[in-house]
């Protein structure tokens, strides 16, 4: 079954690529707007040979990784703190509910004014967007702590710190990992958005340049690269999540947030 699944998937991918080749060749859409797969592939080869492409890729990844790291550490620390300190959770709930849905792109004009096309512009957007993912999942996770387990720990005289380490953190970890996975893909979206709209160096800026110079096949090639990058991040994050949860009794469904 697994083998045939892979075969079917490969066939689907091949059909997708063939369709991308045939549709412009048959004149169903203008080649100038939608170059055939082979043209995109050759543009991709040219990109890969270009040193500037690798610099751009490196810039995007730097913004992504740095932003994600800041967001995850801040999200986890704030999440645990808010849940452990008495009354803090109730007091912050309304503020979190209000700030979370604010679209991070609203901050674009501010980022432009404050930091221009620097890396800090990218980081502002990436951190704002991914922080909430991690925070909210951490809060869910801590809420899921079995009261019996917590009371048991209390009755054996474990202190706050010990309870956080041995009861709260293991329960919350699966949720935190889900948060990290969601944050990883959101961070990529915002990193590339910042480059595309603000013009910070990276893949997004390269796409914008290709667009303004009418280099359509190059633009498609770069979009494919951004898709592959997203794919690697998704698959990687899911693998890490599964590893981290291997001990967990059930890999839970996603919390709808």
């Amino acid at each position: 079954m697994r083998g045939s699944g892979i075969a079917l998937g490969t066939a689907g991918l091949a059909a997708f690529l063939a369709l991308g080749e045939a549709v412009p060749r048959l004149g169903l859409v203008k080649e100038a707007y939608f170059p055939p797969t082979s043209r995109i592939a050759s543009a991709l080869v040219d990109e890969v040979r270009d040193g500037a492409f690798w610099t751009a890729l490196g810039d995007t990844l730097t913004g992504w990784a740095l932003g994600l790291a800041i967001a995850v550490s801040a999200g986890v620390v704030v999440g645990v703190l808010v849940s452990v300190v008495p009354y803090l959770r109730e007091a912050t709930a309304s503020t979190i509910e209000f700030l979370r849905p604010i679209p991070s792109v609203a901050l674009i004009p501010l980022a432009v004014l404050l930091y221009g096309t620097e890396l800090r512009s990218v980081l502002l957007l990436v951190v704002y967007a991914s922080f909430w993912q991690v925070l909210v999942q951490t809060l869910y996770g801590v809420q899921d702590v079995d009261p019996v387990a917590d009371e048991t720990a209390r009755s054996y005289g474990l202190g706050t710190w010990a309870r956080v380490r041995h009861v709260l953190w293991p329960t919350a970890l699966p949720y935190v990992m889900t948060g990290v996975r969601l944050a990883a893909s959101v961070a990529l979206i915002l990193a590339i958005t910042a480059e595309l709209v603000i013009g910070a160096p990276g893949l997004g800026k390269r796409i914008a340049v290709a667009q303004t110079s009418q280099a359509v096949p190059e633009m498609y090639a770069l979009i494919v690269v951004s898709g592959l990058l997203g794919l690697c991040i998704n698959v990687g994050a899911r693998t890490v999540e599964r590893r981290a949860l291997a001990w967990h009794q059930s890999v839970r469904g996603e919390v709808a947030v």
Binding site: A15, A91, S94, V105, A106, I189, T193, L196, A208, I223
Partner: protein, 259 residues
């Protein structure tokens, strides 16, 4: 009564505190980029007049609604189709995984090639970004319909449209809503970005105009409006979700009580 009072205090205390902090920290600020909150609030009613709501906010929201609705219809429809057959799913999976991974904002330049810079472009951009989370979550939801429920339906001759409406889609609805939720935040992002790229009206367009003309307090009010819009849409979504998925939350609560 006392509990209600306590709750109100909890809900309001921190926001009020934060606003006060902002007010006093920024009061007397001479930094052009961080105008005093007093100035921002004073500018607000001058900028966001009824006229502006009609010419900028309304078109934005309309485009978002159109794109989002399109994405929801296509996502749920295709997702049900793909999710119902193991074979189709195996064929489509790698392609869908790739398409979902493409960061939606990079679609803006591509769609501009095809659809110009009008309303169509923006609606298509929003729809093509929102469709993936809905589609993939629907596939998962439809795939995971309980086997006993499917057999129950079969043994009672529940088939066709009735089966789809009362069993498959209802059973997948928690996942579909999780997808719609993700799609909503992507939709707002794309609404703003598509207007920043090329537009003659809309909130995103207006905010960028303020920034470019260095009307800083006006720009700040624009950021506040975007924030309020995001918050309002999320409240509306939650109301709808709570109504449609009331059974699901009840079910979860009841299984939590009796493990």
């Amino acid at each position: 009564m006392r509990r209600l009072l306590l709750r109100t205090v909890f809900v309001l205390a921190l926001p009020v505190l934060l606003l006060l902090a902002w007010w006093f920290a920024s009061d007397g600020s001479t930094d052009v980029y961080w105008p005093p909150l007093r100035t921002i609030l004073k500018t607000f009613p001058d900028v966001w007049t009824a006229d502006r709501l009609r010419t900028d906010v309304f078109p934005s929201v309309l485009r978002l609604a159109a794109g989002y609705a399109l994405a929801a219809a296509v996502g749920v429809g295709l997702g049900t189709l793909i999710g119902s057959s193991r074979r189709v799913r195996a064929v489509c999976e790698p392609v869908l995984e790739f398409l979902r991974a493409v960061p939606p904002p990079v679609l803006v330049p591509v769609i501009m090639l095809f659809a110009g810079i009008g309303d169509t472009m923006k609606i298509v951009v929003i729809a093509s970004g929102c469709v993936w989370p809905v589609l993939l979550n629907t596939v998962e939801g439809v795939r995971a319909v309980d086997s006993v429920m499917l057999e129950t339906a079969r043994s009672y001759g529940i088939t066709g449209v009735t089966r789809l409406r009362h069993l498959v889609l209802r059973s997948a609805s928690p996942q579909i809503f999780a997808g719609l939720r993700q799609a909503l935040s992507i939709g707002i992002i794309l609404m703003v970005i598509s207007e920043m790229f090329a537009a003659s009206d809309g909130i995103g367009f207006t905010v960028v105009q303020f920034q470019r003309s260095f009307a800083i307090p006006d720009m700040w009010t624009g950021i506040l409006v975007l924030g309020l819009l995001g918050f309002l849409l999320s409240v509306v979504f939650q109301l709808v979700e709570r109504r449609v998925l009331g059974w699901y939350h009840g079910l979860r609560a009841s299984t939590r009580r009796t493990p």
